[in-house]
């Protein structure tokens, strides 16, 4: 069964069809790249999958369950993690404090237990604390743990974003341009971490403009233009597909592919 199955997804903003009848399927363990020119509707697709926007048409299934129209928090609880294109941060919190946010959905103790500091609550807090230390170690952020997130170097803020998502078990990561603002060294480091995550069984759907990384990293690539899927296939086939080349580079007069 496909992990994520999107059929005929559509979303309009006024008269603008941002997403227009898209079908995407993602198998467990796969890394799929979602590419396309700016404004093609890639981020809108992410927002539709994660519930930040409601689709006008189509269905989204996660492991066979219909998750169309659920709230973002309900979708997150199912194990769909995402990052944002712009770096969203919890301003005023330290790295460690904001890491704990990713663990909240795992915690079962309620308001009164937290207020009265019961044993069960303290145990969960200790677990969350331990898990964030481990995750920070994994992402190479340990030495920054007491830094305020807003003064963290830009590249590390992107690392933190992913670290927060994997604080709780996720089955799929939706990464919206994770490599933006990273230098070459950081890119190869992040891709290494993502490969490690994949070997732990996490699937990845990736929006990225860094073509070299996309080509080497993804199993399959879906190309979107003007809200429609114009090509899909392995990186080799995509890189030679004339429709894709036209969408990205334009075409010479008279050589337009139909």
């Amino acid at each position: 069964m496909a992990l994520i199955e999107i059929t005929n997804l559509g979303k309009s903003f006024g008269g603008n069809r941002a997403v227009d009848g898209i079908d995407i399927e993602l198998q467990p363990g796969e890394i799929v790249g979602l590419v396309g020119p700016n404004g093609a509707g890639k981020s809108t697709i992410f927002n539709l999958i994660t519930g930040f926007l409601r689709p006008n048409s189509g269905t989204i299934k996660f492991k066979g369950d219909n998750i169309t129209g659920l709230r973002p928090d309900q979708i997150a609880k199912k194990g769909i993690g995402r990052t944002f294109q712009i770096t969203l941060l919890f301003h005023g919190q330290t790295v460690l404090e904001s890491m704990l946010a990713g663990h909240v959905r795992e915690e079962r103790t309620g308001f009164w237990q937290a207020l009265l500091n019961t044993g069960a609550y303290r145990q969960e807090r200790a677990q969350a604390f331990e898990k964030s230390v481990d995750t920070l170690q994994f992402m190479g952020l340990t030495e920054w743990k007491d830094t305020l997130v807003n003064v963290l170097p830009c590249g590390l803020q992107r690392f933190l974003g992913i670290a927060q998502v994997i604080m709780s078990p996720v089955e799929i990561l939706l990464l919206d341009e994770p490599l933006t603002g990273l230098n070459e060294e950081e890119i190869s480091m992040l891709l290494g971490k993502l490969k490690q995550l994949r070997s732990q069984g996490i699937s990845i759907l990736l929006i990225e403009h860094h073509m070299k990384a996309v080509m080497s990293f993804c199993d399959r690539i879906v190309v979107i233009n003007f809200g429609q899927k114009i090509a899909e296939g392995t990186p080799e086939r995509i890189s030679t597909n004339p429709t894709v080349i036209e969408a990205y580079l334009g075409c010479k007069r008279g050589t337009r592919v139909s």
Binding site: F52, D73, G81, Q93, V104, R105, A126
Partner: protein, 324 residues
């Protein structure tokens, strides 16, 4: 934040005993200072309650609405139903919490400036509805609320008794808010205040916590409002104007919004002392108050709690940020 910090029960007990003794000593101040302390406790509690809503990212100007509902509930219960004082207090606070739950689900869908405006509208609707109701005494309000019976050594016929009651409410609110701030609850509120989208993407249903914060805030505001109504012996719609909502913000901002307990305590102390002694300069009252507020905001944008850091700058390394 020191998450792994272990609270030693002994220290907490000692703090409670010392604070209790301090509160007891306040009851032997001259009458005028007792009055100042009562107002200090009242506005500290309301300021703290206001800060809880600010934590989830919303700027409320509707605290007067809950003071009003609390005060009127207590007055109606005691005057028309002969309800005992203590029961009236609890029921009034619960009423406020319930109203906040119903109203909050609706108005907390709005954010930012829209929430600010609708919270103001809420407070005004409460006040004007009461002013139009004959059962609630219309524009004259309800008066002649009986003085509660004595409780052990606490006599409500004296200022001293009321001082102890308001300090008790303040302590209750302070401990609750302090625990919230130190626990996951306060952290979740800050996440929502900082970035609701990011919080949602981690599976935090932000409406739930926004309403929760609003309800808790209303509960304590209503509790103070009920006690204040009985203390004054009368409630009237003219008493619960926009200015009451404003004081909540003034004390919190004067003290510093970074600290949910210490900030309002300090801000309220400064405010109430000035408020009391400015009666000697009736013409310049608002002018001096405004000047004071501007001075503090200009020199201490993070409020009075930042005095130590700003002018002494002598904190040991790793001093927990939230204590400052």
């Amino acid at each position: 934040m020191h998450i792994a910090r272990i609270n030693s029960a002994g220290k907490v007990l000692l703090a409670i005993v010392l604070l209790g003794l301090l509160a007891f000593a306040l009851g032997f101040l001259p009458n005028r200072w007792q009055q100042i302390c009562i107002m200090w406790a009242i506005w500290s509690t309301v300021g703290m309650s206001w800060l809880v809503i600010l934590r989830v990212g919303e700027f409320s100007v509707g605290q007067a609405g809950f003071l009003c509902i609390g005060g009127y509930s207590a007055a109606v219960l005691m005057l028309k139903f002969n309800c005992p004082f203590w029961l009236a207090l609890i029921v009034s606070a619960a009423t406020c919490a319930f109203v906040a739950l119903v109203v909050g689900v609706i108005i907390l869908r709005l954010k930012g400036l829209y929430f600010l405006v609708i919270s103001l509208v809420f407070a005004e609707i409460v006040r004007l509805t009461i002013a139009a109701s004959d059962y609630l005494g219309a524009s004259e309000g309800l008066f002649g609320i009986p003085i509660p019976n004595n409780l052990w050594f606490i006599k409500f016929s004296t200022k001293q008794g009321w001082l102890y009651l308001f300090i008790f409410i303040l302590a209750l609110a302070g401990f609750t808010f302090r625990r919230m701030e130190k626990s996951r609850i306060g952290r979740i509120y800050s996440y929502i205040g900082a970035s609701p989208d990011l919080a949602q993407s981690f599976g935090i249903y932000y409406m739930k916590y926004r309403v929760q914060a609003f309800v808790i805030s209303a509960f304590f505001t209503g509790l103070v409002g009920a006690a204040m109504g009985v203390y004054l012996g009368a409630v009237g719609p003219e008493g619960y104007t926009f200015y009451y909502s404003l004081i909540a913000q003034i004390v919190a901002i004067l003290g510093g919004v970074g600290s949910i307990v210490l900030g309002p305590l300090l801000g309220s102390a400064l405010y109430t002392v000035f408020d009391e002694y400015l009666v000697y300069v009736p013409g310049a009252r608002s002018l001096i108050m405004g000047g004071l507020l501007l001075t503090v905001i200009f020199f201490l944008p993070e409020g009075l709690v930042s005095v130590r850091r700003k002018f002494l700058n002598k904190f040991p390394r790793g001093f927990p940020r939230k204590f400052i």
